[in-house]
């Protein structure tokens, strides 16, 4: 799909020559021996193809399937997530917060766009937007409503503002009727949005039948 159809928001004022300026900067840095184009390709490939929300979904599915793993995950997110080999850059200090019938957690970074890269990949545009960063702390229920999520008055909404080097992952509630599903099938239900706290995990998936 041509990107032009998709980046109408927050990109409208990008100077037309920005692509050229980035290209010129890259060639200068290569000429000076500061960067290797193959390393740039590897960095891009990592986040386009290897690291993304499927990692986090596997963590969530295991927490649902194995109570002992869930206990480890909530006690020490970094170590439990590292059991999958997910670690490092922007996930050095992981904290997992659990959604229940009484508590709904929502993650934001009001000051920049901190996000747990090893489990969710790079953040989407909406997470980095001024609209989300400004409103998630003052009007979380209004923001969630825009995502189609109505949180009952009897449920406590906890917003986690990622101001330090701790990175947060929401452990969503396991949907009802999924007792027969394998860990792999469970992982397929888990979305990025649910792990940020702007959605619930649904079963069957929207548009599908069980």
């Amino acid at each position: 799909m041509p990107p032009a159809e998709h980046h109408d928001h927050a990109h409208q004022d990008v100077p037309s020559d920005l692509a050229l300026r980035v290209k010129a900067l890259e060639s200068l840095l290569v000429e000076k021996g500061l960067v290797d184009p193959a390393a740039l390709d590897a960095l891009i490939d990592t986040y386009e193809n290897k690291v993304g929300p499927r990692n986090g979904a596997r963590v969530v599915a295991r927490a649902w399937a194995e109570p002992a793993y869930k206990a480890r995950l909530l006690a020490d997110g970094t170590s439990a997530i590292a059991e999958f080999g997910f670690s490092g850059r922007q996930g050095e200090h992981m904290v997992v917060v659990e959604n229940t019938a009484r508590v709904h957690n929502l993650i934001v970074c009001t000051l920049c766009s901190c996000y747990p890269w090893p489990v969710l990949g790079l953040p989407p545009v909406w997470y980095k937007s001024a609209a989300y960063r400004s409103r998630a702390v003052v009007d979380p229920r209004g923001v969630l409503r825009e995502f189609g999520l109505e949180i009952g008055e009897d449920v406590e909404v906890r917003v986690w503002d990622s101001t330090a080097e701790l990175r947060y992952l929401v452990l969503p509630e396991r949907p009802a009727g999924t007792d027969h599903l394998s860990e792999e099938d469970l992982a397929a239900l888990v979305t990025r949005d649910a792990m940020v706290g702007v959605a619930k995990v649904e079963y069957p998936k929207p548009g599908e039948t069980a």
């Binding site: 960067v35 920049c112 449920v155 986690w160």
Partner: protein, 219 residues
């Protein structure tokens, strides 16, 4: 600094626009800017706090107009020049100054997986025990540093409760300015939504903010 980046609680930014099946990068230059920033960062000439602060230094009107990766591009150019990996003249001409030796060793593709999986630990061992205990009432100090800080404006002067101690961490307010790591204890502090926003907020809700010891005082 009291910059426009410190957005928590601001109005007028519009609705949150969710894009279905969003690509990781919306154009090739975004991916190149991301990768150039990480590869140049591997020289160790700046740290994550300095990187964040450089984005905060973009004038407010420009900051709001720019896309996320455009800010990254501006930051990279500024850091390269300020930390003297590249001269302003070279940035202007687009070519290395003749006679300047090539930098070495640069990050190679083979080193990328190790670089990313190692990350950069911001935690530090601290000999003194934490000043505050879980359950203790605290107040976020009413301070307005002109430099980098991770104490959001909406929390300053507000009272909260220590939820838990998170360990010792590098202090961004000094590290961003290359004034040392000044490691100190970090706590997750629970602020009742009504303490922050008044009666318009739900009486049940709360915002948890990670705070360095220097940001807090007993309440």
């Amino acid at each position: 600094m009291n910059g426009v980046h410190d957005m928590g609680g601001m109005h007028g930014m519009g609705p949150v626009k969710h894009e279905k099946d969003e690509p990781v990068f919306h154009a090739p230059w975004e991916g190149r800017t991301f990768a150039l920033t990480l590869a140049a960062g591997a020289w160790g000439k700046w740290n994550i706090d300095a990187g964040r602060h450089e984005i905060e230094l973009i004038p407010p009107a420009q900051y709001l107009r720019m896309s996320y990766y455009e800010r990254w591009y501006v930051r990279l150019v500024e850091l390269l020049a300020k930390r003297e990996l590249v001269s302003r003249e070279e940035l202007e001409t687009g070519h290395a100054k003749p006679g300047v030796p090539k930098a070495s060793p640069r990050l190679t593709a083979g080193q990328v997986p190790a670089l990313l999986s190692a990350g950069a630990l911001a935690s530090r061992r601290i000999a003194e025990s934490p000043r505050f205990q879980p359950g203790q009432r605290v107040r976020a100090r009413n301070i307005h540093p002109a430099g980098h800080t991770r104490l959001p404006r909406y929390a300053r002067g507000k009272q909260g409760t220590i939820d838990r101690h998170r360990g010792g961490f590098v202090f961004p307010d000094t590290n961003a300015h290359f004034l040392g790591e000044k490691p100190q204890h970090v706590y997750s502090v629970r602020f009742a939504a009504r303490e922050l926003w008044g009666d318009q907020a739900s009486p049940r809700d709360a915002v948890y903010i990670d705070m360095w010891d220097d940001y807090l005082e007993p309440a």
